[in-house]
Amino acid sequence: MLFVVVFLFVMLAPLAYMVSASFMSQADLNSIPPKLFPSAPSLANFVSALTQQPILKYVYNSFVITLIAVAICLTAGSMASYALTRTRIRFKTTFLVFVLAISLLPTITLINPIFKLYSRLGLLNTHLGLAVVAAVLDLPMTIWFLTAVLKGIPTSFEESAKLDGAGIFQIFVYVLAPIMKASLFSISILVFIGAWNRYLLSQVLNQYEARRTVVVGLTLYQTNHTVPFGVVAAAGLITILPLFFLVLRFQKNILGGIMEGGVKE
């Protein structure tokens, strides 16, 4: 138990420092030796964070983009993994390896071609455009992961549902999804955070303020070689608070009841 406490402390120390720094003055932040707590806590950094950049707009953009990305990824990914585990199509392994291999190329090499394509299609500076790229980049992972999960679920449940006349969609929604709830939740969070944190693509594809994402916005506080860390920390907190409550809220619903209803043979 002690180990757990110590570990959680280490895990949370950087966050704690970030919180503390967001209330510090620049003088506190500059000081040597470093300060653990603000000498005169103030909300000035939060005010600067909100006024220097339209950070809330960026948070909104990030939310819209990542939610679309998660939706695309889950839909396409579930369909593909269902096909790979429950139907007798050929080239399953080839497909999996191909999908994976193609996703292994460093992102930098994707940027130029995708920029040109999007420029032609008018998808630059749109929520959907960036969401689609973000989704596609995490799609291989989603397919692989859901395939692994589906493989682990015995087909016996579906057989009985099939006998009752249920279609694939019903089977997926009423039989498989409840069993996979935790996995679907995890992969959603994974894709969500993956898309949320995508920096280079967001910067290049969504350059305009109206569609800018929050990770790009965070880099704009810096001027003249120095980062006003207090302001960036405050902005960072503003961006992770909604995430925090979202996860706190949903993990109860989705992970909560699952222990009782695990897979039984």
């Binding site: 096909a83 999996l96 291999a101 994707l110 992972m141 996995s183």
Partner: protein, 292 residues
């Protein structure tokens, strides 16, 4: 009936195939194509010149490329290994029913939600000469003189590993937790009746049952670890003396900053080949069906 199901199967693959084909296939082909040419921003007006395998020969003889590759692989192995162990521990912890479970589950995810830009600044501050870690270690008299965390190549590597493990363990633990949650309690109850120890239960029930989830998790963690970029750029910029520069950093520099598109493409393709090699080790784990 069967044939119709098969056809439906193909149809269900279609969205994924189309999305990938539209956005990724062309860039990949294009990159492979470029890697056989001498293309430079500086001579863009003159166009590309076919040079065959020259870029690859250059890469193989490029000692800096080899250094970055060795460090990238070392970084990947160590960070993913440790993240797996800690991630498993956390997943087991999060699975247990206890007061504040929801809070713990959420708290564990936090490092991952903190944007890398911010995390990079925090860790740089922690490890810098006059930073938090030296200050704390000196205050509790573990060290006399401040350590040069980011100036000594081994300490710099250690600092980066710590920051990366902190940042990415949540990913590992979340996926492992989701695997753990699909295991029925019945197995453990049966094992308890048979008098199996905790460790025995872990190795004989837990691990085999989540093996395929675990391999996929590890595989994708390996892939993303091999591309590590932002965190290291923020903390050391590749220093000291390029010792913490990864292949992606080198490729990005070559491609963008140096404007050497052809060579950057070749480095990227080599990286792709190595990643495919590693991935092939994991394909089998998907084929063998779990024992459930």
């Amino acid at each position: 009936m069967e044939r119709r199901m098969t056809r439906i199967g193909y149809l269900m693959l279609l969205p994924s195939v189309l999305l990938i084909a539209a956005l990724i296939v062309y860039p990949v082909v294009n990159t492979i194509y470029q890697s056989f040419f001498e293309i430079r921003t500086q001579t863009a007006a003159l166009g590309a010149r076919f040079t065959g395998l020259d870029n690859y020969v250059k890469a193989i003889n490029d000692t800096h490329f080899r250094d970055t590759l060795v460090w990238t692989l070392l970084f990947t192995g160590v960070s993913v290994g440790i993240e797996l162990v800690i991630g498993m521990g956390l997943a087991l912890l999060m699975k247990r029913k206890m007061p504040g479970q929801g809070l713990i589950r959420t708290a564990v995810l936090i490092p991952w939600a903190i944007p890398t830009v911010v995390a990079g600044i925090i860790w740089t501050q922690f490890f810098s000469q006059n930073g938090m870690i030296n200050y704390i270690l000196q205050t509790i008299h573990l060290i006399e003189e401040p350590l040069s965390w980011l100036g000594n190549q081994w300490l710099a590597k250690l600092s980066i590993l710590i920051a990366d493990i902190w940042k990415n363990t949540p990913y590992m633990s979340l996926l492992l937790l989701s695997g753990l949650l699909t295991i029925s309690k019945d197995y453990y109850e049966a094992a308890q009746i048979d008098g199996a120890t905790r460790w025995k239960q872990f190795t004989c029930i837990t691990v085999p049952l989540i093996r395929s989830t675990m391999s996929v998790t590890v595989l994708f963690r390996i892939i993303s670890a091999m591309r590590v970029y932002d965190l290291i750029v923020a903390m050391t910029g590749g220093g000291p003396a390029g010792k913490t520069e990864t292949v992606s950093m080198y490729a990005v520099n070559t491609y963008f900053t140096y404007g050497n598109t052809g060579y950057g493409a070749a480095l990227s393709v080599l990286m792709l080949l190595i990643s495919i090699g590693i991935s092939l080790l994991f394909v089998d784990s998907l084929k063998t069906k779990g024992s459930v």
